[in-house]
Every structure is written in C-alpha cells, then in structure tokens.
Symmetry: C3
Subunit: 222 residues, 3 copies
C-alpha cells in the first residue's frame, strides 16, 4: 500500500490518521489551510500546505486521505468537494479507511474512499458512497444507502432501508427509523429522531424531527 | 452444527443470515410468505415457501432461524409467535445467533433462540429470553431481563436492572434509565427516553416518554 | 498483576468484576456497606465489609477497584471520593479497567484508575481523568477531556473537543455536540442533547438540554 498524506490537521484528521495507522498505513504529512500552522508538532509527521504537497509528491507515489470533518451541508460540502476535485484533477487518488474495531458486513458495499471509524457497524446490503464518513460508533443498517460526501456524526443510528442523499450531515446521536428517505444536502440536527422523510435541502431537528430555519438561512448565499 | 433454513427473506433475514454466516453456519434456504418471491436471487441460496420447507426438510436435519423483524407489538408479535409455534409443533428446533462483533458477558444468560447482532453489548447478569432480538449496536446492561419475543431495535440503550416484559418493541435509538419496568406487549417509540415504568400494553414516546394513543388503537381488535 | 478487591457488590460491581476477569485479573473479594449482605453468594468470591478488607489485606499485596456506580453528582460524588480517599490514605492503590471489547486510540491518554467498559470507544487525543467511568458503549471523541470522578452512563455520545469537568454525571443515551464545555459537578439527564455549554453545578435535561431545578435542590446542603 502507498503511503498517505492527509488533507487537514485538526480533530477529524487525528481520527483519520489513527484509523490509518491502525490499518498499518504509513503517513507522510498532514496539510493545513493556515500557513502559520505549518510544522506545528501535533503529529509525528510534518504539517505542510497544500502547495507543498503538490510541489513535493507525485500522484503515483502516494494516496490522499480526507481529514476534514465538516458539520454543515451546502457551502461546507461544496468547499470540501472543491478541494477533493482539485486533487483528483491533478491525478491524485484518495483512500478511505475501515477501522479494525468496526463491523462491516461482507454483504455491504463500501466505496474505497469512504471512512468507517471505530465502533461503527455496517449491516448487509448497505451501500456507502464516495467520501462518506461513518463516524465513531455510528451504525448503518441493512439496505441503507448513504450518498457521496455525507457525514454521519458519532453515535448516529440508522434503522433498515434508510436512504440518505449526497452531501448530508446527520448530527451527533441522531436516530432515523426504517424506510426513511433523506434528500441531498440535508442537515439533521444532533439528537434528532427522524420518523418521516426529509426533502432535499432541508434542516430538521427535534423529537420527532421537524423543519427549522434561521434568519441567516433565509438570506441568499453570496 | 446443523445447517439452517431462515424464516423470512427481507431485510432482517439478511441481518440474520449475515450473522449466521459469520458464525460459520451453513444456510440452505430462506422462506417467503409471498409465493411470487420464490427463487428471487437476493441470496446465494434458494427462496422457498413455508410449505416447501415442510415438504423438503426433516426436523432432525436442520435448524430454523427467525428472519422476521417485526416492529409493533400485539398483532405483529402474535403473528410471529404463531409461525414459530407452528414449526415447533412439527418438531423443528430454532437457533438464535451471537454475532462475533458483539460482547456478551460470560455472566449473562442468553436463550439459545435469542439473537445478538453486530455491535451489541450484553452486560453481566442480564437475561435474554426466547426469540428476543438485540439488534445492531443495542446494549443491555447488568441485571436487565428481556422477555420472550421482545425486540430491541438498533442503537437502543438499556441502563442497569431494567425489566422488559414479553412481546415488546423498543424503537430505534431509544434509551431507558436504570430500574425501569416495562410490561408485556409495550411499544416504546424510536428515540424515546424512558424515565418511569411503563404498564403492560402501553405505547409511549418522547423525551421523557409519555403514553400516546391513536384512534385506530382505540378500536377493538378484529 | 496483583489480585483485586472490589469496593461495592451491586450492579456496577458486576460490570467491573466482569471487565477485570476478562483482563485475566484475579478477584479476591467484594465489599458491602451493609453488614447484613456479608457472604451473600452473588459472586464466586467473598463479600466482606470495608473493615474486613482493612484487617485482612496489606496495601502492598492487592489493588482496589471502585465498583460503585453513582448516578448523581454533588453528595454522591463526594461520598465516593471520601471512600477512595480513605483507602488511598491507608496506602492502597486503585486499578481501573480497559475492557477488551472497547477501542482506545493509542493517541488517547487514560488515567490508570479510569474504567473503560464494553463497547466504549475513546478517540485520539482524548484525556480520561482519575476514577472516571466510561460505561457500556459510551464514546468519547477526539480532543475531549473527562474530569476526575465523572461518569458517562451507557450509550453516551460525546462529539469532538468536549470538555467535561470533575464529578459530572452524563445520563444514559445523552449526546453532546462538539466544542461544548460542561463545568464541574453537573448532572446531564438521560437522553439530553447538549448543544450549548453548561456552567458548573448545573442540572440540565431535554432536547435541546435546558437547566432544571427542583425544590429540594434549592435547599442548602447540610
């Protein structure tokens, strides 16, 4: 396996690097968007900028891992997708991770770039899309589908046959009953209990989960 | 160990078959209540009707596994119990499962027909009754008792010394504090937080969980 | 490793003893505050009083384990701390436990007296303080800090960079989003979803969690 450079150097990068090391991957460096953070000694490896990465490493020699844990859909997701797109266009390939203290049913289908973290459970016939994050101790039950760039936060529980679109964030400790469809780019707030389907671009919260809006969210994106 | 025929061929059957395969059990067939579904290629094995099962297999040669995941108590539980009773009367025996990615304390007492699925934790001195399902990543703490045909949905958390009667359904992501008694045939809705005991035949929901009724539920069973 | 005497003989003691046995520790006895409970046959070992313990065992020959699972902060925590202090002053040392069916990231920092129980996950750069209990299937994410004598009940989920002060109780199934600070001696009720920081000595509950008080709690401590 090729050595890895991690995009990002914050908290989620530490989770990703720990998972990769547990899989015996070699890590060369983490990147930072903040040039002042270069070479901070948080890790055993160098912290460099994305430009350093491009200057130093050949796309054939390494794999990248996405170490950014975004918490809101829409702009956040697009921002992360742009970063990924930029490196894909330069010929780099991404690796995901499959933590050894997780259960992935052999009958599940996991994209190679998806991340399955410690304590997670993926049941049979679930499909996990590209760059999706199944975070600490989240579970995805039989026949669920998780879209690209969707993020299930720690402790999320999806019952069977749930369909989550692309670019969603399901917050810490949220639960979703069986057969629910969640459209693309939805935000399910932490601790929500989702008992009816959620249209695309919605933000829901509560027990049971209901739509919510804030003033800021009514303003046009600029 | 004898080979297994699974009653049911839907989502929960896929969870049960995956658990059994992980325990190196051999699976011969799944059954369907819908004759039109016979021999659909969802699995590597045949899908047959219950009548085919009775015609083809000798009770001494196989074990049955209950692959039906009901979500409501009362009629649903009775229906499942009747199916089980029918096969027991014909001399068949049932197996449960104990997923290898689950923790069952040696001091717990698990009925051989109970199902303990991936990510579940059973703590010391817990008792799990016949045909109970402890589903994906549910946990049952010390000194709990789970009655026959009760189903803890994915992500349920029971604290210590909880007593759950027969034929209950505890919904996705629900939590129950210590010392609570839940009577027979109760429905605890998804995401409920149970902080006081629940009489038999109740339906509760919310944080904290309170009783609820619907018009349909006031009508006599027919 | 030295053999262990467990302080306490109730439900949490059974969880602690099970974890210790799973780590191949030898257990000599459990203690009871109730002299009438001496030699009840709950365990394979003797149940003795604290005075018996002091009379029989040399601090150099054994380790103690705290088998008491308190559920309220303030008086309960102080009471447990006094018990621990009493034995520390007599020269005894305490052991924690790290259940083998738990994941502790190598980059986490766990006090030797902390308890990590079955199904728990501790992510990188988390710090778990002295005598803290991370109970069944609770998770502590990257960069969290858990204070001394704090107890995360079964199924609790902490997202990243949460800071929990000393002597807190976080109830069954509660969730805390990232970056939250919870002061010392707080009670977070079962099933709460904490989305804003909690000052010291607070009691909060609900989704989202809000402060609550009872008449008794307005009375001065005596």
């Amino acid at each position: 396996m090729k050595p890895v450079v991690i995009l990002g150097c914050g908290g989620h990068a530490s989770v990703v690097s720990s998972a990769l090391l547990t899989q015996n991957r070699m890590i060369l460096a983490s990147t930072t968007p903040d040039p002042k953070a270069v070479n901070r000694s948080l890790y055993a490896w160098e912290i460099i900028t994305d430009e350093d990465l491009l200057a130093r490493y050949n796309p054939d020699d390494i794999e990248l891992a996405l170490g950014i844990g975004w918490t809101s859909p829409n702009n956040a997701t697009f921002w992360v997708q742009r970063i990924v797109q930029r490196f894909l266009e330069k010929g780099f390939q991404f690796t995901g991770c499959r933590h050894p203290f997780a259960w992935i049913a052999p009958e599940a289908c996991i994209d190679p770039t998806a991340q399955i973290h410690a304590g997670a459970v993926i049941q049979p016939r679930a499909t996990i899309g590209p760059f999706a994050i199944i975070n600490t101790r989240a579970s995805v039950d039989h026949d669920c589908t998780i879209g690209a760039f969707s993020h299930l936060a720690p402790g999320v529980t999806l019952s069977g046959s749930v369909k989550v679109g692309d670019g969603c964030h399901i917050g810490t400790g949220a639960s979703v009953i069986d057969q629910i469809e969640i459209g693309t780019e939805c935000l399910i707030a932490a601790g929500s209990v989702v008992v009816s389907s959620v249209p695309a671009n919605s933000k829901v919260r509560g027990v049971p989960a209901k739509p919510f809006f804030t003033v800021a969210q009514h303003q046009p994106d600029t």
